[in-house]
């Protein structure tokens, strides 16, 4: 008997014998059922785990972004502009790579008898990575008075939930002393070592620009149009901006010439690059602790009509007392200061 015949005989016997057939079917069913169920459960569990891992990855990314936010907020100033209102100004620097969105500014004010705080919602205050932003916000804090002295603290909230404290303007010991000194006579300080005059030509250019001449000894003031330059620094203790308006003037009194003889030069704007006097005057802002050149060249307020000395040939040389009569605003309130202590000799 060949193997083929043997196999055929066994197969015929297997198919002819129905005993145990149901067990085969049952077992097959069971195996299929178990495979189907276990596969579906496994695949579904896998998808759930994927969702969970995705959520963990998202959270880690969020945490990483929160930790990567690197913002510096400096030079913060507080000005109580009116009852219940404070103006908070600050410089924001984002040296990090992530852009930062600011949502809320909080401020806290207190003194011996008062405590108050409030918040201001910010919209569209975004600082890209590596960018700077000057932020100025008017906030309402109930109970604040412009005449009061307060200690302020403030902080910014970012969209990712970080809290960024606002740091006040740094001031050195020298600045404090200067500020305390100027508190008695006014917030503006003049640099007495750099007092310069120029000759103004027909095209309203300053000569020689930018060096000029030492203004303590002036020649040809009677025959030439003259412009003066002084350097002023804002040392306001509350670190507010000072804005000079067109009424600001430099005037010289000649006491030895009698009858209160005087000359006036009104404030002008000068192009810092070319040294040309601008045709119209726009208010000049002096930021805290920044030395700023201020020019006086016009014989008329708000205009650019060149000015000369009114001294006659017989009146020169003459000694004059120079005064800076400065007017404008400090913060949002009127401001005025007269800076004396400068005397010059007009030689010719």
């Amino acid at each position: 008997m060949t193997i083929r015949l043997l196999l055929r005989k066994r197969f015929r016997k297997l198919t002819a014998n129905s005993k145990g057939f149901s067990s085969v079917i049952g077992t097959t069913f069971m195996v299929l059922v178990m495979m189907f169920l276990s596969t579906s459960v496994f695949m579904w569990t896998l998808s759930q785990n994927t969702l969970y891992n995705e959520a963990i990855r998202e959270k880690n990314q969020l945490e990483s972004d929160v930790l990567s936010e690197n913002v510096q907020v400096t030079n913060t100033t507080y000005v109580v502009v009116s009852d219940n209102n404070v103006k908070v100004s600050t410089d924001i620097t984002n040296p990090g790579s992530l852009g930062v969105q600011f949502t809320t500014l909080w401020a806290y004010a207190s003194n011996a008898t008062y405590t108050g705080y409030n918040f201001a919602n910010l919209s569209n205050v975004n600082v890209k990575g590596g960018a700077n932003l000057f932020l100025s916000v008017n906030m309402t804090i109930a109970g604040l008075r412009p005449t009061g002295a307060y200690s302020f603290a403030s902080w910014l909230i970012t969209g990712r939930g970080n809290v960024v404290p606002l740091q006040k303007a740094t001031s050195s010991y020298t600045n404090i002393v200067t500020s305390n000194t100027t508190q008695g006579i006014g917030a503006l300080m003049m640099d007495f070592q750099n007092f310069t005059y120029y000759v103004v030509n027909a095209s309203k250019y300053l000569n020689p620009y930018p060096s000029g001449y030492n203004a303590y000894y002036i020649q040809n003031a009677r025959t030439s149009n003259i412009a003066f330059k002084v350097f002023l620094t804002n040392f306001d203790q509350d670190k507010r901006d000072i804005t000079l308006t067109n009424g600001s003037e430099l005037f010289i009194i000649y006491p030895s010439r009698g009858n209160a003889l005087s000359d006036i030069w009104y404030i002008v704007n000068v192009d810092g690059t070319t040294g040309k006097i601008q045709d119209s005057f726009s208010s000049l802002t002096l930021r805290y602790n920044q030395q700023t050149p201020v020019y006086f060249a016009s014989s008329q307020r708000g205009n650019t009509v060149p000015a000369t000395s009114s001294l006659t040939p017989s009146q020169v040389p003459a000694i004059g007392a120079v005064n800076l009569a400065l007017v404008g605003t400090i913060g949002d309130i009127p401001f005025g200061q007269n800076i004396p202590f400068v005397s010059i000799e007009v030689a010719s």
Binding site: S18, L51, G161, V163
Partner: protein, 178 residues
């Protein structure tokens, strides 16, 4: 040819007659059919039962997984905590900076090294004063915790911890000075 066909038909009819009237081995066939049917029926029952059980397991697992994912996405930032010593209440300003909406505050604990106080009914409000059941993404809100009993009031200038338990069970801590 015609005769041969009639003979074949006659032989087939005889086989059917014999099959219908032959009783031997009938019970074996019937029992095999019944047994096979029963096995198939039981198999389907087992299939449906197993599927029902696995669906229940799936639903339970899915619920737990979604809850965990929602917890992971929750994040609260403390904007400001202010203790009013005269009114003896603590104002807590928070922001939902997470990635999921409807973040509610369930319980709040205020504590220091030797003392703690639990607040379970929190009246969460938006910053404009309207009541809020929860904070959506990016929204800010606050709640006020009253310290009614003098023995439970905070000491100004001292450091305290505050822990918020959200409705989903996440916890967020913060330290403040009263």
């Amino acid at each position: 040819m015609k005769l041969k066909g009639i003979e074949c038909l006659d032989m087939d009819l005889r086989k059917v007659w014999k099959l219908l009237h032959e009783r031997r081995a009938v019970s074996t066939v019937v029992s095999s059919v019944i047994l096979t049917g029963a096995v198939i029926a039981v198999s389907f029952v087992v299939l449906f039962w197993a599927q029902y059980r696995s669906s229940a397991y799936n639903a339970q697992y899915s619920e737990a997984m979604n809850a965990d994912i929602a917890k992971l996405k929750e994040r609260l930032a403390f904007e400001y905590v202010f203790y009013n010593s005269s009114a003896k209440n603590l104002s807590v300003y928070i922001m939902n900076c997470g990635r999921i909406n409807k973040t509610s505050v369930q319980t709040v604990y205020v504590s220091n090294a030797t003392w703690f106080f639990r607040f379970s009914s929190i009246n969460l409000k938006f910053l404009n004063g309207n009541n809020a059941t929860g904070l959506d993404m990016g929204e800010e809100g606050y709640f006020v915790l009253p310290f009614v009993s003098p023995s439970d009031s905070l000491v100004t200038g001292k450091s305290y911890s505050i822990k918020i338990i959200t409705g989903r069970g996440s916890t967020f801590d913060h330290t403040f000075i009263a």
